[in-house]
């Protein structure tokens, strides 16, 4: 009984540690102040406060959600969508977030962009449902269970049909593994167009425009050259875009 009490106490200290340190306290007070500005309709000030928390090196789902909403109210739909999508990395199943994100996508008239990669299309729903942390946790637990099950069913209580169990577990494990790998790959160098712009053939002001990039469209960042980003669009087309029109996730 005493042991349980001590464990709970340690856990509580561990969980509330985030609130105890001064940086977190400062973040919370900035968050409250941003809330106040938002309620007063001073969205520019609210944005400043929210971004102040980000510049302290801290982030959270509700923080990005509120920042996205402040940008929306300020009329900057591209940045609103960017921050809603960032929030998805923490609270992917939040219904308010889904609603707001879809509203912004509608208003930006982005349409339904699907990846040409079959594997990515198959796993899109799966990827959207979990955060990376959740996926990594599920993979760790599943991996552990598979290894222990193998020992148990082979040596301790041998069952003839153990291979069926193992194959099912391994199948689930690989589904999560592929999902996780795709998610990590997807989120590396992920960026968004925050101002509608043309993608040029070359990183030069006078270069010919290759195609148009809409505000809110997602692109992959390939490299940087003297104020220009080389990017790849969902359909694989490459192009050069002025740096100020693109923001990394």
């Amino acid at each position: 009984m005493r042991l349980i009490k001590i464990t709970i106490l340690v856990l509580l200290i561990f969980l509330t540690r985030a609130w105890a340190d001064p940086a977190s306290q400062q973040a919370v007070s900035k968050f409250v102040s941003a809330d106040y500005h938002y309620k007063q309709g001073q969205f520019g000030d609210a944005i400043k406060e929210y971004e102040g928390i980000l510049s302290m090196g801290l982030e959270s789902g509700p923080l990005y959600y509120n920042l996205g909403s402040a940008y929306y109210k300020n009329g900057d739909l591209g940045k609103a969508l960017l921050n809603y999508k960032r929030a998805e990395g923490f609270i992917p199943r939040d219904s308010d977030l889904k609603f707001n994100k879809n509203l912004v996508i509608d208003q930006l008239a982005l349409g339904n962009i699907t990846s040409p990669n079959l594997l990515e299309r198959l796993f899109a729903k799966h990827e959207e449902f979990y955060t990376k942390d959740e996926m990594a946790f599920i993979l760790t637990v599943l991996g552990g269970v598979i290894l222990l099950m193998y020992l148990f069913l082979t040596f301790i209580k041998p069952v003839k049909s153990r291979w069926i169990f193992m194959i099912i577990l391994l199948f689930v494990f690989f589904i999560y593994l592929i999902g996780f790998i795709l998610k990590v790959d997807n989120e590396t160098n992920r960026a968004m167009v925050i101002n509608t712009t043309a993608a040029n053939y070359e990183p030069l002001e006078k270069s010919t425009a290759y195609y148009q990039l809409k505000e809110g469209e997602e692109v992959k960042l390939l490299r940087e050259d003297n104020g220009w980003f080389k990017i790849k669009r969902y359909d694989g087309k490459l192009g050069w875009v002025p740096k100020q029109n693109i923001e990394l996730f």
Partner: protein, 594 residues
């Protein structure tokens, strides 16, 4: 049947007949040659023909060549008659018009002027860089052609940029570039490629087409356009290992290996377009910038509805011209017709608008008319197209379907249905900051996570080996014997020591012999009875034991047999030494079996 097929097929193969003559170059050195090609496009029955007499040129027929091509889905065939022309003297000459009879009809080619220069006088000029450039400019050049020279601001102007190439191999052709100030420019269309004869020389033409929209009035300078490409030219390989053989390979098929690339930038001349402002006179109040020639269509469906049901109005403007800034006349503030925000889509020179209208009372009889105005540059005047009004029938709701009045506001009735379809906005912000994370941090990137994973995996591997070992001891008798052999041997040795203590020397040898026999049987998978001094080599020959150990084993077994059966006089010391020997031997065998 075949005849029918042929007659049916004939019109498909029919094509316009043309006869063209061209030369590989207009200027030639005395002593050089040039090629004359008479090409008959289309036609089936081509009569043989002779070249007319040419002053100063000697012609030799090289042969015909037939080409069949299917371009853009169209079939075409052509037959080329190729001649080699050898200039006989310096001067200006003309290849006269050539008459060719095709399908019974006579066709004539145009005359071509040729200049023959002295190779001695031409060469110094040709060898200089400018000379090369000059000759290159005849072989590759670019022309910038706007389709109109007088246009209005924002009027679309198709611009063609034509790259002409003759007798050169050009690769890596980029899209042409030009200064785009004071205009907006569309993306290039898919380039077209075709042949064209200019001044008697056949050129491969690459046609780039785009559309520009002048942004302000005045003279608009277009170009010069520049284009980057690579020129393939043949390199002379002096150190070729083939030497004389090279002439054998000096053929376009083999000499592909000897080509090099050289980057080349080609510039066109400038062109200018006079840009006019749109006239102020007669400008309709609803004009929103559409320039061109358009159709305006409007439809409203359904025509008969109940109060509160939606009617969709579709407007479509299509035609040729610029619609980028044009606005379609969406409905606003109508009496007893609730209007919703329209959805506008643009696809090239077509703009569509969809708008939902909801009649709020039965007395609404029509949707008012709408009009669309544009400027037509062909007639230099504004035009307005009016559509409507559109008659509709609005029926009252049956009693049971009538919306329940929730509350009454003076001058305005609000219903549940109307409340639900009001504007759209985002969901309100969150009151709590939630769990704060360090940016870019994840638990699976931390060291403790990987320490835990490796520790777990290590433990699992150990457990696997432990279970596997236990399982094998139960299943595999030989494995179990081998594993337990050392333990058994130790037990045998302690029995022997006990026998020594009570001075039972024969018993000592008995125990030692049995211990050794059992150990060897367990270790080397043989039955105990088979282990004798004579059979030892046969059983242990394959093992890792060194011959010295085997011979020591043999001598001990012999000594033990003698001690057990021949009544030798045994001393306690000897017996103790024997125990030590057996202990050492077992130790050696234990180590070598690992």
């Amino acid at each position: 049947m075949i005849g029918l097929v042929l007659t049916l097929a004939c019109p498909l193969w029919a094509q316009d007949v043309s006869v063209v003559a061209d030369v590989s170059q207009n200027q030639v050195d005395l002593g050089g040659t040039l090629q004359l090609t008479v090409t008959v496009n289309g036609g089936k029955d081509i009569a043989t023909f002779d070249l007319p007499k040419m002053d100063g040129l000697d012609a030799r027929f090289l042969g015909p060549s037939t080409r069949i091509s299917i371009m853009n889905g169209q079939y075409s065939s052509s037959k080329a008659y190729i001649y080699n022309l050898l200039p006989l003297k310096v001067g200006k000459f003309q290849i006269p018009s050539i008459t060719v009879s095709v399908d019974g009809k006579e066709y004539q080619t145009q005359a071509i002027d040729i200049e023959v220069v002295n190779s001695g006088t031409a060469s110094p000029d040709q060898s200089t860089a400018s000379g090369q450039e000059a000759s290159l400019k005849d072989k590759i050049f670019m022309v910038l052609k706007p389709s109109k020279t007088e246009v209005y601001v924002n009027e679309p102007v198709p611009v063609k940029i034509l790259l002409y190439v003759s007798n050169l191999s050009v690769r890596d052709v980029h899209y042409p570039e030009f200064d785009k100030s004071n205009m907006s420019v569309e993306e290039y269309k898919q380039p077209k490629q075709y042949n064209q004869v200019v001044n008697g020389v056949r050129y491969d033409v690459v046609e780039f087409e785009t559309t520009i929209y002048p942004a302000k009035s005045g003279e608009l300078k277009l170009g010069p356009a520049s284009l980057e490409c690579s020129l393939l030219y043949r390199t002379q390989n002096a150190n070729s290992p083939f030497g004389q053989m090279e002439s054998f390979f000096d053929d376009s098929f083999f000499s592909g290996f000897n080509y090099s690339k050289r980057p080349l930038t080609i510039q066109s001349l400038e062109a200018s377009v006079n840009v006019l402002d749109l006239p102020e006179a007669n400008r309709p109040s609803d004009f929103s910038g559409a320039i061109g020639d358009f159709k305006f269509e409007v439809s409203a469906d359904p025509k008969e509805i109940k109060v509160g049901d939606p009617i969709t109005v579709k407007m479509r403007v299509s035609g040729e011209g610029n619609l980028k800034t044009a606005e379609l006349p969406a409905y606003k503030n109508l009496n007893h017709l609730k209007t919703y925000d329209p959805q506008v889509k643009e696809d090239g020179a077509t703009k569509t608008l969809e708008q939902v209208l909801i009649p709020q009372i039965e007395s609404v009889k029509e949707i008012p008319s709408v009009q669309f105005s544009y400027f037509d540059p062909a007639t230099k005047d504004y035009k307005t197209i009016k559509q409507g009004p559109f008659p509709i029938t609005v029926n009252a709701l049956p009693k049971e379907e009538q919306p329940r009045v929730v509350r009454t506001i003076p001058n305005e009735e609000r219903t549940v249905g109307a409340l639900e379809t009001l504007g759209r906005d985002i969901v309100y912000i969150k009151p709590e900051i939630g769990v704060l994370h360090k940016r870019g941090d994840a638990f699976y990137l931390r060291t403790w996570y990987w320490v835990f994973v490796f520790l777990f995996f290590g433990l699992w591997i150990s457990a696997l080996f432990y279970f596997e070992h236990n399982n094998r001891l139960l299943r595999d008798a030989y494995y179990a014997r081998r594993m337990l052999a050392h333990k058994e041997a130790k037990r045998g040795l302690s029995l022997a020591r006990k026998a020594l203590e009570v001075n039972n020397l024969q018993g000592v040898y008995d125990d030692l012999f049995k211990t050794l026999q059992r150990y060897l049987a367990d270790k080397y998978k043989v039955s105990q009875g088979e282990i004798t001094k004579n059979s030892l080599k046969a059983h242990l020959g394959q093992s890792y034991l060194d011959p010295q150990t085997i011979s020591r084993l043999e001598s001990f077994l012999e000594e033990a047999e003698q001690a057990r059966y021949a009544s030798l006089s045994l001393t306690k010391d000897q017996a103790r030494k024997s125990i030590e020997t057996v202990e050492v031997l077992i130790g050696v065998m234990e180590r070598s079996s690992k």
